[in-house]
Symmetry: D2
Subunit: 348 residues, 4 copies
């Protein structure tokens, strides 16, 4: 299948390189308003046609799909045009600048029977793919809590706060690995802007999950130490993903708390501990974006939604919008809008 990259900025070269390197795809064009940038990207992958007018791409019958890496505010327009032109679409996160636009894009893709995939790259890393499998096969049991920490000395963004900048990664991963996806009904958000930067530089999200479980996300632009860690506690085992420890990225602890079924009042007596082994699976060395390209092609060929389809992008957007409302209300829980297309279409 033929594909074009639209947008030759920060992420475009990675998309072009992985399309070029994929057995599923032929890179047909690199498109950017700035011909020089597009040319640089095309040359960096050994040469490819350069286009400055996106209409040219959309009109090309040999191009089956486009990979869009332009600013978020342009996603709605570009994705709509591409879908109307009959192209399958892979789009960078966030799916759109606001939820309403995202809903329209998802609905359009469904109407046209085209694949709309959100590039939640992290979900295709060997670590996250393995976490998803481990949870799906019951290795962790029922999920009790998730704690995700993503902190670093990071640029204070001019247009978005730290929740919109960093938490999409955590939310997309949660949506990918949790059995029912990211199904929280409300979110409580806290944040701080201690530098007077005009937006939160430190943020926390609490997402009550089903059956009393909870997911918590901590993001921070002001931390001199860099942490990217997710802990997923289950009734059977607990998993720790430490993305900055290449020697032991995943650890599965066969330790936990057992609660007896007896309904008596003395809860301490009902609880016992299990101190078992720790296990750290070997992970293959794979570039996540190569897996993205394979999944994109596979979804198109089999006419199924991609693993990280437009709906998943929409669920992330819905949480972010609710988090902003909760942040404004100092942590009061805000309801998360339900992904309408999913309810109506029932297709996801």
């Amino acid at each position: 299948m033929g594909a074009a990259v639209i947008g030759a900025g920060y992420w475009g070269p990675n998309l072009a390189r992985n399309l070029r390197g994929s057995a599923d795809w032929e890179l047909m064009a690199v498109c950017d308003l700035d011909r020089e940038r597009a040319t640089r990207v095309a040359e960096s992958v050994g040469g490819a046609p350069v286009v400055t007018d996106v209409e040219e791409v959309l009109a090309d019958p040999l191009i089956d799909a486009v990979a869009i890496a332009t600013p978020a505010r342009t996603h709605h327009g570009l994705v709509t045009r591409a879908l109307e032109a009959g192209k399958h679409v892979l789009v960078e996160k966030p799916l759109a600048a606001d939820r309403a636009a995202g809903v329209a894009m998802v609905e359009l893709a469904r109407e046209r029977g085209l694949v709309l995939m959100t590039d939640h790259t992290y979900c295709y890393t060997p670590a996250v793919l393995r976490i998803r499998d481990l949870i799906a096969e019951g290795a962790l049991g029922d999920i009790l809590y998730v704690d995700s920490t993503r902190i670093n000395l990071g640029l204070v963004q001019p247009d978005v706060d730290v929740l919109w900048d960093l938490a999409p990664h955590d939310l997309a991963i949660l949506d990918f690995v949790l059995p029912g996806g990211l199904s929280a009904a409300t979110v409580s958000a806290s944040g701080a802007d201690p530098l007077g930067a005009g937006r939160a530089c430190v943020g926390y999200l609490a997402l009550p999950l089903a059956n009393g479980a909870m997911a918590h996300v901590q993001v921070n632009w002001l931390s001199p130490t860099k942490i990217r860690r997710m802990v997923i506690g289950g009734t059977r085992r607990t998993l720790v993903w430490d993305d900055l420890n290449p020697a032991q990225r995943l650890s599965i602890f066969d330790r936990g708390v057992d609660v007896a079924l007896a309904g008596d009042a003395d809860h301490a007596a009902r609880v016992s501990y299990r101190l078992g082994d720790t296990w750290s699976p070997a992970l293959p060395e794979q570039e996540a974006l190569a897996n993205v390209m394979t999944e994109f092609a596979s979804a198109i060929r089999s006419g199924r939604p991609a693993r990280t389809d437009g709906d998943s992008g929409l669920r992330v957007l819905s949480v972010l919008e609710a988090a902003s409302r909760s942040l404004a209300a100092q942590g009061a829980p805000a309801p998360i809008a339900t992904t309408v297309p999913t309810l109506i279409g029932g297709a996801a």
Copy 2:
């Protein structure tokens, strides 16, 4: 000065041993309703008079002070009796089972001119004493955020949730090291009871501080990995206290974000980074409880409030009570009651 220990349970032996080992104190009695327990404690410190009736202790004119290590629900009654008998009091945390009782105890001590000290032992560790000094001398600059994590595989307590069980440590430390003490006006609390234990086993507190800063506390009874870490980010430097890393307990990072004073809109441009050295001060080996005994004696002698006086115990209680209300409201911010005696008496 003469002192008696009241309560020969879990903590009593430590109090007795440190009173015995202190140059400031003479251990005059170990008191417990259970004579056998009291005897065991007395023998473990090389012998001391054993008493089963607390009135005997309170009537003894050679006893200047009592150290109370009984269950929280008994604190109000015992402390009140001791203060009325003219004894200075060191009492285990929490100060009382509820805030109203705590207020009454603090007021009574103030009326009688006696020292009422809360045994916030952590505050007297070499690490926390050093943190207090570093902040006081401006080494960190203005505080931007505090992140405290205290997680472990812990017993599900029969009477209190994880916030009341573990967060008092973090709150007492914050009250001790922050320039103005624990002065938050509201708290947002989130928690989860995924085991159906009848109380939160996972909890989070967000405390907005002055000038846009925020303190956050994370506690968890269900974590197979044990973490006791506090990060204090400041405008000049950031401190990390990793209490489980004896080789490098404190690290001070001379790294951070500088925000220019210009009022323009492009905030990213206003921010710059400082990548400096890291420094880890050597800490003396001291038992915290020995420092507690010294402080207790010193406060009595000089007629000043102890560093962790009844008011500090009360501020911790006030946050916990507000946290319980916020937890019930799914994170909606709850106002923290002001410590009345401080406002009226103005003595702290």
Copy 3:
């Protein structure tokens, strides 16, 4: 069975406490020339008869065994007397101050049919017991190399160098866990005395093992960082024991190098890598010295040598003496004396 502790110095209290706490033993006496020291030890375990004349202990028919914790130079005399009096003996490491004395002690015990056990306490830690089992059951395959590191800021001893002070631990452990015990024929030792302390403060031992394998030991009194780590590389798996990491003391890496059987010259082509999982077994919490007491009793009852018998103490001594000769020869390999009694008696 009745037992007495001889020597109430640094280690004596631990022996007394574990004999007292053992179901196999009755603590009959604490013996020291210094009555006050002996009394302190006896009281610390809740009381026991105090004796100052060792002959009194040896003459007591209710005392079946003695645990000796006196300076090394006194071991030969005391152990000989005890064995001649028909007592089983547990003796602190090193077995004796020199190999010849050790040989005589081992031979005497064998003649008398008594148990002579060396207190190689480390061998009875849960970690080392597990390592021994893992190797015995073939989990590591054939041993390829062992790297043991034991470094710290340590006291420069007045009478022994760093090899004699610290390496006995490593050598005793190697003797305990390696399938054929510590069977090296030679040792090469290097060392340095950069402070002019009169003896090596930094030392290295290289011990060629069977089949081309090698054990290496690194000890150092001058290191500001403390490391106690042993790596045991095998054809199937590699084990890392990090004694200072309680959260993950043992790690078994299912990674390694496979060498094909083909005899061609291009060795690089014959070698392939296996990147498998890492596994960290849970270890029980046990005091090693309690296990020592159980083993001592069990060996006596069943009339078998203790796991760490006199021969093992002798093998450690033999390596140390050879190491001193190699050190004097700047690393030239020195032959390790064979344990004569084993060869003659064939009993170990």
Copy 4:
């Protein structure tokens, strides 16, 4: 100045890229017998003339210097030709396949007044440059010991053992940072070939330094854990360089042992400990090879030897040759040949 790269294999692209990126150099040619390989390298840096005949390079008057990245056995011939053609030379490590060839190359460069620089890249990393400065300014005091560990799961090389493969890095660094360079008179080497690979896969070097100090190097191809760590103990402070810990690559411990001057026999009493702070300097982010190119140009311009000149390459070769002799003698110390040119010319 104009430069050509000779050899378009593994390292050639890095040389080409850094010459191209340097303000000091103009990349005039990429030379390889294999035109295709040379072309690939030239294209990867944005285009450069491609040459297959090295004579063409040497005849070009616009080329002042050559950077040679060909197999070690070809160094002697190529470097000799280049020097005879009047070119300055940067050559990959090892300087030559044997010491005699290295001596001839160094002498020739000296005769012709040309710069012969060994590409000991590690020496130009920010960490090693800082270590050199710290030692030079006395921050560590006198050096007591050096422990260097470089272990990994590595390819068993077909032509060299693990000492020749990995230890050159450690030796080059030692030569660079130690005040008098790598001045050991003898070396003791131990090694093992437990896989029957035909050469040592595990190796140890002990190098007695001046004043009783010692350097020790541990290398291993069979380790499932990767360690690259150097500890440099000094009378004032001890430095730990952990190259795999980007968050704290260098740590300087202000802890150590003080030995009093008194000449009495009781050495334990003469020794005291200093427990001070730990300090971790921030290091700039620099590519080491860019620093190499700057140093190469600077040495040529100022007519001085490069920091890692031919003599340093020769000292490394001398140790390796002696180590091979010691290895064959099971650790017996082997004398290290003195670098003749230095003695005669006195220029280094």
